[in-house]
Symmetry: C2
Subunit: 202 residues, 2 copies
Amino acid sequence: MSKRIITISRECGSSGHSIGKEVAQRLNIGFYDKKLIEVASEKSGLDEDFIREYGEYQKPSLLFGLAVDPTFALNTVAGDYVQMSDKIFYLQSEIIREIAESEPCVIVGRCADYILSERNDCLNVFICSDMLSKVEHITSKNGGEQRKVENELKKRDRARAAHYAHYADRKWGAAANYDICLHSGRLGFEKCIEIICNAYKH
Amino acid sequence: MSKRIITISRECGSSGHSIGKEVAQRLNIGFYDKKLIEVASEKSGLDEDFIREYGEYQKPSLLFGLAVDPTFALNTVAGDYVQMSDKIFYLQSEIIREIAESEPCVIVGRCADYILSERNDCLNVFICSDMLSKVEHITSKNGGEQRKVENELKKRDRARAAHYAHYADRKWGAAANYDICLHSGRLGFEKCIEIICNAYKH
């Protein structure tokens, strides 16, 4: 059957975000990355940067959340104490479900593949790459020392994997969780876009 | 660049073998699965069934190997003790390298992606699927009780993963180890073939 939604999970530096953007453009459908964060920020009153971090990267503890906004991590359901990251996860989940209902689109990150797992019209894609290509990609855009960039990429991916494991109870980047996984470093940017667009139109 | 060799790793019951066979037929290139085992058997004098098992599934211990053929697990290189499974791995590696050198082809399983990792003309594919689709696929072909088939598939995949971890020192089925991973249960047989053929011709 034809798909309606494309979710893109991606390693940092794998060009997964740009691939998703180009796919959405070619298919002429919506693209949700920053826009999703803007909506979550509007709904919650929380800072966008804060949602960006909390909505995709596992943080060490609740203390960090409380330090940022002591009024946020409150009882929300009859005596249940809901952590900051949980609250953001539930908020994002609600928004992602609304978006998926309203229009065909590409959604980047934020456990969208898991959140929409009850729908059968999603094409779930994972984009990865080798460290050399990822570091080159980042340093060519932003500069930076190779070793530091590599450490930062690893740290970010560990936090994404931990966030996914925590909320989806699945292994991030394990092939069996996605419809298609593509290695952008070996296949190239254009080939990844082509494969995703063709699979979507199937 | 265009690829010359396709390696296919696959979960048991995911139709990876049939997909590989059909890809080879459409691309009009060689197909190595059983043929590889036949060559290994000819070269070593070992039974084909034995090579089939030892060449892709991790076995509990050396004792099993010795029980089957006490003369095989001997010193082979200046005092180095080489296990049965090691010997079969080295034998298969040699054959896989020779095949890759001699003709464009599809090679199924046997850590071929790892063995050929120094070549840059390989398209490394992993085929997976959900348990329900895999069990249905197997029982529709061979019959069998659903629960038993599921247990057997899990057991076989665990042994494949352990074999790959042992020899390739990599995680079997982790997206980053392959160029493309495809979920045959969600994409369908035909789509998987199409994606692989197109990526090969790229």
